[in-house]
Every structure is written in C-alpha cells, then in structure tokens.
C-alpha cells in the first residue's frame, strides 16, 4: 500500500471521534454554563448546586446506579432513533413505540403469569419489541408507499399511541383504583436486580447487549449495509440494487422494535405495571441522545448516561440544594441546540451535521430515492468538503 500506512488509519478515525467528543463536551459545558447563569440570576449558590449535581450523578455507587436507571429508557429509545437516523429516517415516534411496547409487555406478563421467570421475561420483551416494531412499521410503510413524511406521521402516531393505550387500559386491563393502570405484574416477571440495594436491574445488561447487536447489525450484515447505504446515499443504493422502499419499511420497524423494548424494560424493571401516560417524553429526549451519539450505537451509551446523569443529579440537587431539578431539562434542551448547530460550535471545523442525511431527511416531499441522492450528494458543502479533503 502506498502513501498512508496502516498506522495512520486508526489515528484518523480516532481524531474524528475525539473531535466530536470535544464538540459535545463544549456543548455540554456551554449548556451547564448557561444553567449556572440562570442559577446565579435566581440567587442560588452555583457551586453548591453543581457539587450536588455531580454528587447525585456520579458521587457514589448508588448515585451511579441512579444515573444508569435514569439512562435506561433513553438508552433503548436513543438507540432506536440512532438506528433510524443511520437509515436516513427521522424517527420522532419513539415515544409512541415505547407506549405500544410497554402495554404489550405488561399484558403479556400478566397473561403468561404461570410461565417460569426467564421464558416469561423473554416472551414479555418479545411482545414489547413486536408491538413497538409494528407501531414503527406504520410510518415506514406510509413513507415508502405514499411519501408521507415520517416526522409528521411519527409525531401523530405518538399521540395516537398514548390515547390508544390509555383507552385499552381503561377498557380492558384496568386495575381497581383511581389511576388508569394495569395490575402489578407477577414478581417473577420482574427484571432481577443487578446490584443489591439499588434499582439497577438486568436492563443495563440487556441494553449493552442490544447496543452491541445493533452495532453488529449495521456494521457486519448485508441488511445493515443496505440500511446504511440508503441513509448515506440513496442514489448509490439504487445503483447497487438495494430495494430502497422495502428497506425504509424495515428500518422503521427495527427502530420501533428497539424503542418498544424501552417500554418493556420500564414495565419489567421500574414500574412493574403499565401506567397510562407514564413517559415524561423519553421519546423526544431520545432524539437528543441519538444526536449527541452522532447516531453511532456505541455513542448512545455515553449519551444516554449523560442525560441520565443530568436527571439523577438534578434530583439530588433538588433534594439537598433545594433547587428544582427541572433546570436540568432546560440544560438538556440547550445541549441539543448546541450540538445541532454546526455553525455555532463547528465553525472551526467543517463537519457534517450529526444525522447522516439530516439535510434530505427533512425535505418534506415524496422523493424518489434517486432524487434524494441528488440532493445529498450535490450539496455545496459535500462538494467543497471533498475538494478540501482532496490531495
């Protein structure tokens, strides 16, 4: 081989990751700085607040466990959004898919209560994945068949899912009492604790395995290659002979299945039942997680932990510094904005926006894959970037 030796390949890839890490760190720092400004304006002791934030997020084993528990739904849902991103699709519907998965899991766990623990948990999670997958397949099929843009349809389906699950619970599965919720699932259907005395369950292990599985799927299988190709350059996908419409449907279905598992693990590991309206917007935060992860499966892990830490730390801050934890929600919003704005933080380095096809994914018209490709590849930025990167 010539010019560049094998030794230089790795550092190049690492430099990219490091660069992205630096940008993310800068975005988080900037967001926390803005949070500090708000704290100071409101007359709080910033040092005390942020000390508690850190302590609550990472200060002890229990803090770390809390952070991870908070990160779990974000890990699954973020992974789902990231997978769809890689296929060039904007799945804002993780919220709805998660509801579908959660109810299916709760119902299955109740229905198969006589089963022994492990098969029961597996069946309940499978049901969650299937329900989420079906809920994700709908917008995928609508896009492939009619060109209906997935951003609109997934948002609408979120509300449909929330209302439909509420209705189903009320009508068929309601436990006695004022709350619209199912009965508790049997004890042996619950995910076992991982570390005694914490709320940390085997969901963490399942999550990490799933991250590895999705990474493997994208990297090492023909199907994953199709997905990445469609997301990266639909024109090249047509050229290669990839059935683009079918891949769109499947990408959304797989993404929905992963998001459905977010609901499953909430039911089996945290809530132990389905509660109507239980999600505080995990599906939307998941978009942020996927964005910070740069749509990389392994990136979802630290990104979910980051957002989980903000939540867990925020609660400690609330408890000990008496500062409402919701400030951390605002900080999360700022992180999204800063990471998403290439012109703001990326000014010193020309990098593509995190979502592989973020530009084209947003053109709302029904586009044939080839036209989509034209837009992707013809972007002036791509062109200049290529020229600059040239010999």
């Amino acid at each position: 081989m010539t010019e560049r030796t094998a030794g230089r390949r790795l550092p190049a890839a690492w430099a990219e990751v490091l660069g992205e890490l630096a940008l993310t760190a800068a975005a988080v720092a900037l967001a926390l700085l803005a949070g500090a400004a708000l704290l100071a304006l409101a007359g709080y002791d910033v040092r005390d607040a942020y000390y508690n934030l850190w302590d609550g997020a990472f200060g002890s084993v229990y803090s770390v466990a809390d952070t991870l528990v908070n990160a779990m739904p974000l890990l699954f849902a973020g992974l789902a959004v990231a997978f769809a991103f890689r296929g060039g699709l904007f799945n804002i519907g993780a919220e709805g898919q998660l509801y579908a998965g959660a109810l299916a899991t709760a119902v299955t766990a109740a229905a198969l209560a006589e089963w022994p623990s492990v098969p029961l948990i597996a069946a309940a999670m499978l049901a969650g994945a299937l329900a989420g997958g079906l809920w994700g397949l709908v917008p995928g099929a609508l896009k492939a068949k009619t060109g209906a843009h997935e951003v609109i349809t997934t948002i609408m389906l979120n509300y449909v899912a929330i209302l439909l699950t509420t209705h189903l619970v009320k009508q068929y599965f309601k436990a006695p009492g004022p709350v619209d919720q199912t009965a508790l699932i049997p004890a042996h259907a619950r995910l076992p604790e991982l570390i005694a005395g914490t709320r940390l369950t085997w969901a963490v292990v399942i999550g990490v395995v799933l991250v590895a599985a999705v990474d493997w799927l994208l990297r090492r299988t023909s199907f994953g290659f199709d997905v990445v190709l469609v997301g990266s350059n639909p024109g090249a996908a047509v050229y290669a002979g990839v059935p683009v419409a079918a891949r769109t449907v499947w990408t959304m279905a797989v993404s929905g299945a992963v998001a459905g598992l977010a609901g499953s693990t909430m039911v089996l590991g945290v809530l132990y039942r389905f509660i109507a309206n239980f999600s505080p917007g995990y599906g939307f935060t998941a978009v942020a997680v996927a964005l910070v992860a740069r749509a990389r499966p392994w990136g979802v892990l630290p990104a979910a932990v980051l957002f989980g830490a903000l939540q867990a730390g925020g609660l400690t801050m609330q408890l000990f510094a008496r500062i409402p934890a919701d400030l951390m929600t605002a900080v999360q919003g700022l992180v999204i904005l800063f990471v998403a704005a290439p012109g703001l933080l990326y000014a010193w380095r020309r990098l593509p926006v995190a979502a592989p096809r973020a530009g084209t994914a947003m053109t709302m018209t029904a586009e044939t894959a080839a036209e989509g490709a034209a837009e992707t590849a013809a972007g002036p930025d791509n062109e200049t970037a290529r020229r600059e990167a040239g010999p």
Partner: protein, 316 residues
C-alpha cells in the same frame, strides 16, 4: 341519537370549541407563516408554553393581563429569534432545533414556576383577560351567544385567519414570502432579501404562537400550570399540514380539532358515552391520512427544511 345530535349542535359545544381552538389555531397559523418561508416549525410547542408562562408571570407582577399579553409576545419573539438563529444562521437541522427549543422551554418554565411560586403544579391565580362582547351582536340568536363573552384573543384568532390569508395570498409581501419557501434561488435572483424575510416571519410567527400561549394562561384559565401546552404545539403543526399551509385552512383545521375535543367533553354527559380517547385520536388520524394523500395530496412548500445561503444561488 337525537341526544347526540343535540350535543353536537349545542351552543355550549360550539363556544367551547372556539375557546379550545384559539391556542391551536394561533400556533397553527404561526406554523404556516414560518413553513411558508421554508422553516419547519416544531418549536410551536415552545412558543405556546413560553407565551403562557410569560403572560401569567407579567400579569402576576404588574396586575395587568394586557401587559401579560405583551410579555407573552416578547417571549414568543425571543423563541422565534432563537429558532431563526439556530436554523438559518447556524444551520441546525430544523426538526432538531425545534425539539431542542421545546425541551428548553419545558424545562425552563417548569423550573421558573418553582423558583418563582414554589409549586411544581400551578401558579397562583393571576389577573386574566376580560370577556368581550360585540355590542349589538348579543341580541342575534345563535351567533350572539356563540360570539359573546370570549377572551379578546379568541377574536384575535378569528380575525388573524382571514387577515393572514389576505396577506399571504394577496399582498406583495406574502407573494415574496411564498416564493422564498418554494424557490429561494428564484427569490434571490429577483432581488428579494431571502434571509431577512425569513427572519422577520419567524419573529412574527413567534408572536402569534405566543398569543396562543397567552390564551391558555390568561384567556381560558387564569394561571399557569406545568406543561400547560400539553402537546398543542404539535397538534398545531398537524393543523397546519391539515390546512395545507394556508392560514385559513390552519384556522379551520384547528377549529375542527377543537370541535372533536369539545364534543368529546360534551358527550361524556350522555348515558353511554363513546370512549374519550378514541374521539381525541381523530385529529391525529386525520392528519396522517392527509399527509399520506388520502384526500388530495397536501403539498408542502418545496424548499421546506432546506438550508439556503443567499447569494450563492449560482454556485455549483
């Protein structure tokens, strides 16, 4: 059956439709304005929420609901400016920036609610907007009771639809705006200031949507509560799509959506009411059918969501 019909056409159903529709309709029209110049507006939720909060807070501090409305407009304009900065100037993806702003607004208003009033639920009662009646109209049967006693913002909404329609489709400014959303290069080559127009319209959209927020906290109710917008921003986006990116269409779609909601509340008093949630689902299902082209294909502005750098139209 006759009971159901009576419920549908009961004047109370229609008046509550108007009241419920106002925030959604104002936000939907705001969505139409910004999407007509090519900017996807998911931040409607943020604008509603920020408007509702700022309105309640200013009304609380000053004792004047009208100053509250002013503050709401300011907050909306601020969010509009942020959306503009991030999407137009810093080239953030429109959808992502919108979601970021929504989360930011939710976090910030919930936090401030606690910092200021010490409650995570609701603010104290604040002075709200007076109910207005149109002199002379009250005597008219049906229309009288229907159009009397509402918050001023309801009338603003009813006026905004036709006015914005005229502006968008009948004035030079509207034509130029639509041209930007369809074909920014073409607008650029005939000397229309693309970026400035986009920005101005985003600010206007922010103000409009925030009026919808003020309706929530100062018109419909007289306090702010946590996550008060409760997804109405997304519903407004749907109304905008349903209304085919037309201000009047947005308004009518919002009225239709609110009607299903009002009806749903109304029919709960019947002996065997239909399930609430299934009725509430209708607007969302209708919107999905619309974007999937079930009726007549809804065509968004051609350059929606695109990043366009003015003055670079010719570069290859």
């Amino acid at each position: 059956m006759s009971e159901a019909l009576e419920a549908i056409f009961h004047v109370n159903t229609l008046t509550s439709t108007l009241r419920l529709a106002t925030p959604i309709a104002l936000a939907a029209m705001a969505g139409t304005l910004s999407e007509r110049v090519g900017v996807i507006n998911l931040a409607l939720e943020a604008k509603l929420l920020a408007g509702a909060f700022a309105g309640a807070y200013a009304s609380y501090v000053t004792g004047s609901a009208w100053l509250g409305v002013g503050a709401a407009v300011l907050a909306g304009v601020l969010i509009g400016a942020l959306l503009g900065l991030f999407t137009l100037r810093w080239r953030a993806n429109h959808v992502v920036a919108g979601i970021g702003l929504n989360i930011l607004a939710l976090g910030l208003t919930t936090w401030l609610l606690q910092v200021i009033w010490g409650s995570r639920g609701t603010s104290p009662v604040v002075p709200d907007l007076p109910g207005w009646s149109i002199p002379g109209l009250q005597a008219v049967p049906l229309l009288g009771p229907l159009l009397s006693g509402h918050s001023p913002l309801v009338y603003v909404m009813l006026l905004a639809g036709p006015l914005l329609w005229v502006w968008l489709f009948k004035t030079p400014g509207g034509l130029r705006a639509r041209m930007i959303g369809e074909h920014p290069e073409a607008a650029d080559t005939v000397g229309i200031p693309v970026r400035r127009t986009q920005f101005l319209l985003l600010l206007a959209a922010g103000a409009l949507a925030a009026l919808g927020g003020a309706q929530l906290s100062l018109g419909h109710l007289s306090w702010f509560s946590q996550n008060m917008s409760a997804g109405r921003g997304y519903m407004a986006l749907a109304a905008n799509v349903f209304g085919r990116w037309n201000p009047l269409g947005s308004m009518l779609a919002a009225l239709l959506f609110a009607f299903t909601d009002a009806l749903q509340m109304r029919v709960q008093t019947l002996p065997s009411p239909p399930p609430t949630e299934l009725v509430q689902m209708l607007p969302y299902l209708l919107t999905i059918l619309v974007v999937a082209g079930a009726f007549r294909k809804a065509r968004p502005p051609a350059a929606l969501g695109r990043h366009y750098e003015p003055g670079r139209s010719g570069t290859e």
